[in-house]
């Protein structure tokens, strides 16, 4: 039996503004419960929402980066339902006239682009958090998150399998970080995804869809979608129908299960929020946002591959981290001798492993791109060996001194004087008579050992190739 899968994704991206969308409370993650909940967030009698300027900037930024139409007038509406983490008994969101709509992104699938249309992206406030305790039979409500701004990004059901869904989600995840509007931290819940999944026979109308929530990792999405598709196929093939419902992904058991939903056949009774006035978005405003848009990931990727001649893999590694790709380019711009590929190797290699070791992000990395560029150039022109270069990076990281000062202080320069190198080689040969015999007996490979000894004795300051050449000469 031939089944087609139809998937649409709803992504909620928390906008990383300093204050909430309708109140001046902090949005910082991890605060003690209810310490970032003002009277407006708590829905006290008589309080009123006041709109944060930044969320408009961010939403328009997103709209421009995804080829959306930007509404010239946008309004907020109330979505009415009862839940303890929703203090006002309604969520301020957008229904009619969302801020941006009708756009698209192109993702890479099997070597070619696939267009995923974006129906709309709208602004709304996040709800608080509830913790349910089976022992005390109580739920504990923390409203710190209530009022944090969200951009809800709704795609058309243009994806046909889990892989496409993941690629799309990854692209949006990358994009919002490039735009600087969301930190994309899935663990902290700043980037959440729900999937709408249905199946149909090719040529048929859309089938009944289910909504799957709680997909807070890329891995979850793949498993959840695949499970759900199988579940739906099995149901239909056995003669049942699909119930339109919300399901939770249960990773422990690898299944989706029906949610006893707060939104069960709920009529939200949307109407324009009378406490907020319409927002007009002028062409001048849009143009000013456009002029400040950063280079987008796809464009950057193409430029890295076509102009800077990086490999696809290397480009991808760099692009994945917006700040890292910026650091890379800054460094590459400053090197005088090394080319982009060489710089990229250092970034993907030594720098990335240092970041991992220290468990920090590139914006906390203490070595400047200027200093790194200098070091890479010195390796490139032979002043330093690869090893020494690596060592110098570590030394320079913790030091205020400039590169030249460290090199001379620690005598890091490679020895370039051939006489000096020969003297070291003589010493090595003098204490390795056996190995000389072996070499002369035909074991060419032993030269590697001798090179190693030379490196050791010189404190790594001899260029291994030079050592090899000179050893060869002496031994022949």
């Amino acid at each position: 039996m031939n089944w087609e899968t139809v998937i649409g994704l709803e992504i909620h991206a928390q906008l990383n503004t300093k204050s909430k969308i309708f109140s001046a409370s902090s949005t910082e993650y991890g605060a003690k419960p209810n310490t970032q909940a003002s009277l407006v967030d708590l829905g006290y009698p008589g309080v009123l929402p006041v709109l944060n300027q930044k969320v408009i900037d961010y939403a328009v930024k997103f709209g421009l980066a995804t080829n959306c139409e930007i509404s010239s007038e946008t309004i907020f509406s109330r979505k009415n339902y009862f839940y303890p983490d929703l203090p006002k008994g309604y969520q301020i969101s957008q229904l009619d006239q969302p801020i941006v709509h009708s756009g698209y992104v192109d993702i890479e699938i099997n070597g070619g682009p696939k267009r995923i249309r974006i129906t709309r992206a709208h602004l709304e406030e996040d709800a608080g958090k509830s913790m349910h305790n089976n022992e005390t039979h109580s739920s504990y409500i923390d409203l710190n998150r209530a009022g944090v701004p969200l951009l809800e990004i709704v795609s058309e059901p243009d994806m046909s399998n889990a892989k496409e869904a993941i690629e799309y989600m990854k692209y949006i995840h990358l994009l919002v970080r490039y735009l600087g509007i969301c930190d994309g931290n899935l663990q902290e819940g700043s980037f959440r995804c729900d999937a709408n999944v249905s199946i149909r026979r090719p040529g048929d109308n859309l089938g009944t869809r289910t909504e799957i929530k709680n997909l807070n990792s890329f891995r979850f999405i793949e498993k959840a979608i695949n499970y759900e598709v199988d579940r739906q196929i099995e149901l239909i093939e056995s003669g049942s129908i699909i119930k339109q419902e919300t399901r939770l992904y249960d990773d422990e058991n690898g299944i989706t299960r029906s949610m006893r939903s707060k939104e069960e056949s709920n009529d939200y009774r949307y109407f324009p929020d009378p406490d907020l006035l319409p927002i007009t978005i002028s062409k001048e405003f849009i143009d000013s946002i456009k002029s400040k848009l950063p280079e987008l990931p796809n464009a950057k990727n193409n430029r890295f591959i076509n102009d800077l001649k990086l490999s696809e893999d290397d480009a991808k590694r760099l692009i994945e981290n917006p700040q890292l790709s910026i650091f890379f380019e800054d460094t590459a711009r400053l090197t005088k001798k090394a080319n982009s590929n060489q710089v990229s190797n250092w970034i993907i290699g030594k720098i990335s492993s240092m970041l991992n070791e220290k468990n920090i992000a590139i914006d906390e990395f203490k070595l400047s791109s200027q200093k790194l560029a200098q070091i890479i150039d010195k390796v490139c022109d032979g002043t330093l060996s690869q090893n020494l270069g690596s060592k110098l990076i570590e030394l320079a990281y913790d030091s205020e001194q400039d590169i030249e000062a460290i090199i001379s202080e620690k005598s890091l320069s490679q020895i370039s004087d051939l006489n000096a190198i020969n003297k070291i080689i003589d010493k090595v040969l003098a204490s390795n008579a056996e190995q000389i015999q072996e070499y002369k007996a035909g074991n060419q490979k032993i030269i590697g050992y001798l090179i190693g000894q030379t490196m050791k004795l010189s404190g790594g300051k001899v260029n291994p190739n030079t050592a090899k050449e000179l050893l060869h000469k002496k031994l022949s």
Partner: protein
Amino acid sequence: MKKQDINIETLKKLSMIHLTEDESNQTLDKLSDIMEMIDEIIEVKVTNIKPLSNPLDQTQPLRLDEATEKNQSEKYQTNAPKTKDGYYVVPQVVE
């Protein structure tokens, strides 16, 4: 507006209001009367008229993105009937 058109049970559920059967019936009667009065608007012609959501012709003022609110949770929670360790406590919600 016939009484049957108003599903009082749905309305009660949506607005989280409990009424006894007697109260429901009485309320339904009154609601029907009120809706009959409201139905006078049916005859009004409103072609090409834009809804007026707000009597002002203004646009929304915008606030600078600054976190200026200070933590006053202790003060606020003196108003709450049940709290624990800074949380608001309610009977368990089953999801």
